[in-house]
Symmetry: C3
């Protein structure tokens, strides 16, 4: 009975003994199912080339802005967490000193589970144990069994989607697909943000390259559109199932050809305003939906993050350094122009993610409960945590049931955290369903079917896997 | 101990055994109290004429947009659920095939309870059981005991308010009131939306008719206002206790007579803008409050729904077909002009409903906790579900206590679902109060008084019954 | 086992027996820790002069707009609750008649605890018991042990911050600090709202006085700024640790010197617009942050209340009479200009409070989880209640952990309610942590450290005590 937190069989399950016992049984039903990860940020090349993982700090701390942000909040400048500026062992010491700050956080759960279940580190982390844990994990990382392909298998991953630039040649994806010794599916995802957001610093260059490499000779706006269509087809041919869009808001808009063309030219000549950026992005979301209807790529939208909130940090350390902050987001009116034309289109799948949990009950569940195309994106970023996932299920289920949500998305670049994240999600799904059983709202038998549905069938169905 | 979900005595009650036992006792206190339904959409004529209910599909599926929307989301076109386009048995089969989608939804709870408690169907629904259940329910519907008046009595309904056009002659209400063999109260509700929203397609015609039939010879804006006053009086004379307003936002505004008149004329001549629509609606909410202060009708406001979100569906199938989607709604500033003048008016009752649950703790509880006129509308549409109702009580009670909310509103046109809806509400009220008792926040004795208050006394007091 | 609600050892603790037993043990760890109250509205002079408390109504009812608002909502005009207009015993009778309305409210909890634990009134309150309870409490109030200084000691208060006008001479604070017979710390708080909000009725007079008394001869905008700086220094010299700002929104803005000066002159000449008010307030928040970086005062911001919502009540009874109503509030973009320049400034502490709980998970936890300066203000006004405090912890912890929130703030002018408020907060912290332990999310040992951290160390650390 003396379990560590990381391996306690009842971790994350509800405290009420009757409900917990139902949850245990539900969890058992799905605990060994393969991992389906339809959206994330692992680098396909790392898997293809089976690149050994670097030291503990470079693997677990520096690249993970979930982790560095909280250490930064405690007063450690970001440069002390950067491989170029500090020795790996120093970075690890900073992390270990900050470890108590992670109590109660989602990141804390994932990290603790990794330390023990992946790296076999049994004790607590602490400033005192910094060097010992660094050494222990380093030793593990040097073992042949800790290469990406071995872990991919150990983790029981069946499908792993990456996130890719539209002009990526997808060589690693092709090589993995053709490699008879590799049994997972590593799928690319079409992510054209930097070709759509005209305020992106390299938009003009990107578009230049896009047209020149992929438009089949077309020029201007038409060339741009057909180049995007061509690259999407290339992605489809390389196994992609979805196109992902990180946008400022969920706004959509249908411009006529002439207006779109004029706006595109204005942007290329560097004269576009902030308002133009919004209009063009909204129009392109409409276009992306049209293309999804045509080529079958599932369309996922991730709006509502104010990117690079702290300009000095952005200037010093670049994007994705922990200061993207959510804003209130409204979908009902914003997404309407798109849904007018494609909301009931055959086989169109539109997954709406949010960082603003107020929309779960107010907008996303009502939308997904009517439109056959709309699926509610599982809790994402800041919300992919036990309590937040329970609030999500409570907010959407009474209107939309269990069939209208996307299934869990780990959205991570931290490869070794994938099992912990899916484990947490499965435990929460079991906890939610167990409560409904305990309250006689669904039968135990149905709950055992539903847990398989939400964990396994939903992501396959929604992402056309 | 082998209960079905629909009849389990502990359904919807909290899982913790101690809390559940308190909840059971509280529920017992109110389980046999009559149903008070101060807002809904049942047709009075159906009760007056004791019209037999049609087939199961036409009774339980086609007219209920809670039900058709989720079937539609699963990929069934709406025309396959419409009496004119598909045979009742075919519609019922579609419904049965989709039945598993309703697990965990509020509609699922109501339907399941009806099947078993009203129609005596014991088994699960399923595609396989479609014909058998269709036949079984059809047989029941043909029995004399399944006529509306018999069910009205069986359901233990004391008061049922309908929703009516201002020019309705209220013949059925009068006939029921005068019928010595009928013992319930069926009350009309004054609902003037189509006479106030100048964007309504038939607004001009409606206003024409209103003035010509009810203005006592007055013309123009003055005639319009006095016709509305006259019709409200007619409703009061026929037993109405409230006037209901389905508005875009809770905006209110006091225009002076000249501005109101000018806007009214502009609208009649077809030149009003979208902004004019908002201004006129806001002004008319102010006028409706003034009239409520004068004639005593409780004023209820149901804002925040984006109506007919999917234009193609609206064009093909009309309004109320499942694609009204909530939007973020703010009350504090919007309702202020009305409350400046009438917030403390003697005997004025203003019930504020919302589809945006963020306002429960932020705006509605603080407003109702100060203004004697303001009552917090019980969770409505998309929120009239077990978890949402618990969130509601948790959000409002700590600021406003139990005396400032309206009591449950079933808001339904599905007559046979009324007992199931009130049953769910009573179970949730018992669950919430039981937790407060278990946490030693109120005494068991007070909880037994409070459950009667929220279930029975609140709607009587708030709706002046 | 026959405990009253007010003294039940398990009050507010979770119902599940296993979780409750963990919570009990956590509560025990902090139950006897001294009270740290870093923000509130008690009058320092009352403590310094050890002024006897007045009658029960003047102590517990009339000045507490939490209490009068709910009585007002029940239909009692405010003048019947005002010392000048009604005899204390009459006011007390009104309160007792309304007492059942407080069931389930936060105020009800605080009052009940005071009656029994402070004033020794054992029975229930009721209309019948009005005179008896009035007499019993009056008798207690006349006892020498019920003077403020004696209660200060009995209540185990270590630090009590008051809220003070920038031109206050802080005589009482000085006298208390120098009094060897007084062992607590009573600290002033710099609250310059009436000198910053140019729409404040006495802004011009206030600024005139400020410049003339504190600018060291400076004039105009520069004199204004340096007078504020001087008065802050005076506050620091008298023990102040924070400056508090009750603003309309969290907007911040950096104007250049010339624009600020022009706006200031425009305001002084009475020509400023509503928009100017917003711009100037935003600019001054930026200035206040700059000063905090320089002089070390913790900056606290309390935005999002629509003040004096009911104009007729404001005209008759003045401000703070129960009709300040929250509005939706957004921080991410509003606070950004300030954070650009001071977000990572050394030793700068910025505590962001909110009345809009939707921002806890969406904005405040993400901001505080990155910026070392930002702390999440504990639930305040309308949200300082058991369920709301649990929602707060659930909303922020998974992103920001336990180290990034301010610790409890009682924010009260009701001196005798201070122990009850802190007691409620400690019980809720214990309840939340106990659930995490029961769900194996943190260890029991860490929870025992964390409860001390949130109850005691957090306010000391965040408020630099």
């Amino acid at each position: 009975m003396s379990h560590s937190l990381a391996t306690h069989p009842d971790r994350l399950l509800p405290a009420d003994p009757g409900t917990r016992s139902i949850a245990r049984s539900l969890l058992e039903r799905v605990q060994d199912l393969p991992i389906i990860s339809p959206h994330g940020h692992v680098d396909a090349a790392v898997i293809e080339q089976n690149t050994p993982f670097p030291d503990p700090a470079a693997l677990l701390v520096s690249p993970d802005h979930y982790v560095t942000r909280l250490i930064h909040a405690s007063g450690v400048p970001l440069d002390q967490l950067q491989p170029g500026n500090a020795a790996p062992r120093e970075i690890w010491r900073q992390f270990c000193a900050a470890w108590p700050l992670f109590d109660g956080t989602a990141s804390g759960y994932w990290l603790r589970t990794q330390f023990e279940s992946v790296f076999g580190w049994q004790g607590e982390l602490s400033a005192e144990a910094a060097d010992a844990s660094f050494d222990a994990i380093s030793t593990k990382l040097a073992e042949p069994g800790f290469r990406p392909r071995e872990l991919f298998k150990d983790f029981n991953i069946e499908v792993l989607a990456t996130t890719d630039d539209p002009l990526d040649n997808l060589e690693s994806h092709r090589a993995l697909a053709e490699d008879p010794s590799f049994h997972g599916r590593v799928l690319p995802t079409f992510r054209p943000d930097a070709y759509i957001n005209i305020a992106h610093p390299s938009w003009t260059t990107n578009v230049e390259r896009l047209i020149s490499e992929a438009s089949d000779g077309g020029t201007g706006y038409r060339g741009y559109i057909s180049a995007l269509e061509n690259r999407r087809r290339y992605f489809v041919d390389h196994g992609a199932v979805s196109a992902d869009h990180g946008v400022k808001t969920p706004a959509t808009l249908k411009l006529d050809q002439a207006d779109a063309e004029a706006l595109f030219q204005k942007a290329r000549s560097g004269e576009a305003t902030a308002q133009d950026r919004n209009v063009f992005e909204a129009h392109m979301m409409y276009q992306m939906a049209r293309m999804s209807v045509e080529d079958g790529l599932v369309m996922t939208i991730h709006p509502g993050s104010f990117r690079n909130h702290h300009q000095p940090t952005f200037e010093a350390f670049g994007a994705d350094t922990g200061h993207d902050i959510p804003v209130a987001t409204n979908y009902t009116e914003a997404i309407r122009p798109l849904l007018q034309d494609f909301g009931t289109a055959k086989d169109f799948h539109l997954v709406l993610f949010t960082l603003d949990e107020t929309v779960f009950s107010r907008e996303l569940a009502p939308l997904a409960g009517f439109y056959p195309s709309v699926y509610i994106g599982a809790p994402w970023w800041f919300l992919d945590a036990p309590d937040a996932m329970l609030r999500f299920r409570s907010a959407v289920t009474e209107t939309a049931g269990f069939s209208r949500s996307s299934g869990f998305i780990d959205d991570t670049r931290a490869f070794c955290s994938i099992p912990a994240r899916h484990d947490a999600s499965r435990r929460i799904e079991a906890s939610f369903l167990a409560r409904l059983v305990a309250e006689h709202r669904i039968s135990d038998d149905r709950a055992h079917e539903l847990i398989v549905d939400v964990v396994d069938s939903s992501p396959r169905r929604v992402f056309k896997l």
